[in-house]
């Protein structure tokens, strides 16, 4: 017999929502990893496939370079550098919260409601949903290409350039995460918008695998000032490589990536809250 007084009452937990969210994320992601391990062979095959299919992107670049010596003024190693940063950061973001693109489906089939009755932030639960370790394939592949590029490139390493490397990787990952969250928030309004989101996420990473110099100025402006994907790798990478950025931005702009990333994550968070609020008032 449990009466109100004898309740062990786990009320609000010290550390607040963020900590609780992170904790819930790891709990749920752990469950998904165990679920995939129920089919171990399938997991290995999927990881290898993931590695191989994403590697085809790079094969395409290699094929191109068998015909030309430079692409938009960039050598193979320099393109590989861009490719490596883009793939690694996107791969990480995709693994950490990529499953958020399933939100529309959950809204449609009503299973989002089962997340709303649990004592954890919905964003964390949704981000960990269907957590797939096999997505390490893409990150691993990107990291390999990046390592190869770094070994082959003759970069004039200054302390600032060295510092910019980890900053670029972390910020890039955060910017992609923001795109995933904003995309999911949009699916509260338009439940079949997963394809639109893919255009920005998968489309974005493919775009960034190529040198900025091969694209039209309008597009460059768009991904620099509007949807600031250029801060994932183009701007910091041109600084590291000692190349000019086509839009003629000052050199310090390369160091804006963390600020831009923070801004993007903040805006995406607001969009998510607005989306969830609208779901809870309309139920659809």
């Amino acid at each position: 017999m449990v009466d109100a007084g004898a309740r062990w009452a786990a009320e609000e937990v010290p550390g607040g929502r963020v900590r609780e969210g992170v904790r819930a994320y790891f709990l749920i992601a752990g469950m998904w990893i165990r679920s995939t391990m129920a089919y171990r062979t399938s997991f290995v095959l999927m990881t290898v496939t993931n590695f191989a299919t994403t590697a085809l992107d790079f094969v395409a670049i290699l094929l191109m370079f068998s015909r030309v010596d430079a692409l938009g003024g960039y050598s193979l190693q320099q393109v590989a550098f861009l490719y490596g940063v883009s793939s690694t950061t996107f791969g990480l973001a995709d693994m950490v919260i990529g499953s958020m693109e399933r939100l529309g489906r959950r809204v449609r089939d009503g299973t989002l409601d089962t997340l709303l009755v649990r004592p954890a932030p919905v964003l964390a639960q949704m981000a960990a949903d269907q957590f797939a370790l096999r997505r390490l394939g893409r990150t691993g592949q990107g990291a390999l290409v990046l390592t190869w590029a770094l070994l082959r490139l003759d970069i004039d390493w200054t302390p600032l350039r060295v510092l910019l490397m980890p900053v670029m990787l972390v910020s890039g990952c955060a910017i992609f995460c923001a795109v995933f969250i904003a995309g999911a928030a949009f699916q509260f309004v338009a439940q079949d918008a997963a394809e639109v989101q893919n255009a920005f996420t998968y489309g974005g990473t493919t775009l960034l695998q190529y040198p900025p110099t091969v694209f039209a100025t309008e597009l460059l402006r768009g991904v620099t000032y509007v949807l600031p994907l250029a801060f994932v790798n183009w701007l910091p990478a041109t600084y590291v490589l000692g190349l000019p950025y086509p839009l003629g931005l000052p050199e310090w702009a390369a160091f804006l990536s963390p600020l831009v990333a923070a801004g993007c994550v903040g805006l995406a968070g607001l969009a998510w809250r607005a989306g969830l609020r609208s779901y809870r008032s309309t139920g659809s």
Binding site: M1, V2, D3, A4, R7, W8, A9, A10, E11, E12, V13, E20, A24, L27, I28, M31, R34, S35, A38, Y39, G110, T111, D113, T114, L116, V117, R118, P119, A120, P121, R277, R280, S281, T282, G283, S284
Partner: protein, 329 residues
Amino acid sequence: MDDDFIELDRVEKVFDVRRKTGFLRRERRSVRAVDSLSFTVARGEMVGYIGPNGAGKSTTIKMLTGILTPSGGRLRVAGIDPSRERTRLARRIGVVFGQRTTLWWDLPLIDSYRLAHRMYRIPEVRYRENLDRCVELLELGELLEVPVRQLSLGQRMRGDIAAALLHDPEVLYLDEPTIGLDVISKSKVRGFLRELNAERGTTVLLTTHDLQDIEQLCSRVMVIDHGRLMYDGALAGLHEVGESERTLVVDLERELPPIEAAPARVVRVEGPRQWLAFPAAQSAAELVARIAARYPLLDLSVREPDIEAVIARMYAGGTAQDEAEKAVS
């Protein structure tokens, strides 16, 4: 506070529905899914919440669990405003959606419970006690190591109910807990809920289409239609208010013209078998005696009114009354 453990005061939920009427033209219309709904449920009560599809049942449950925000009115569960403090409320309620399992499909049943243990931060002792109890009463012992995808529907439902109870919720919401279950599973689930309510004093609110769930579990039933409370009281009273009818199925020796036995009336004839509807309040014995005296009977049976029919008639009665009122004024 124990008398109004769950409290709704003129709660409303209005949805904006947009309908395509042309290529780019849309028509906006508000639908009142829940219309000025007021009721209270005392701690430890077991209440059936019924109504036809689209009556506002799920919307009410969703507001009570904090999934949906009400458009108006006041709503409290255990003193908490569900829409404002969703996660705080989540620790104190249990929810079972009959058609949506929250168990982990590919993992052994026990893994889902271990997750609940950690997610709700249930103290070790409480977790052990609650789990042992659920395992015993819901007969889950041999299922704990079985992946959920291999469980039958009835086993999975029992598993889901256990999962909703490990954190000692003060109130349990069940949405169609017996839907699709066989007779044995139904009776196990009902037996467990009765015991839970009696021993732990857990408040239970359940929606169902199965009259037997209500008959066997709930001392109180609420009927909702078009977002409004049509009835609130004992199940027996529902039959009276709904002017429900029972059915007498009569097998005659041969085909005969429809039996005359007012106030009962023949609603269907199929060869020598006839169906007679008569008011639920009337004695079946007296009717049977009258028919037996005048017709050659082979066999007969009495069917209780089904809840859908009762509700349907109740709603039809409601509109008739509305129109009568309109005509007067």
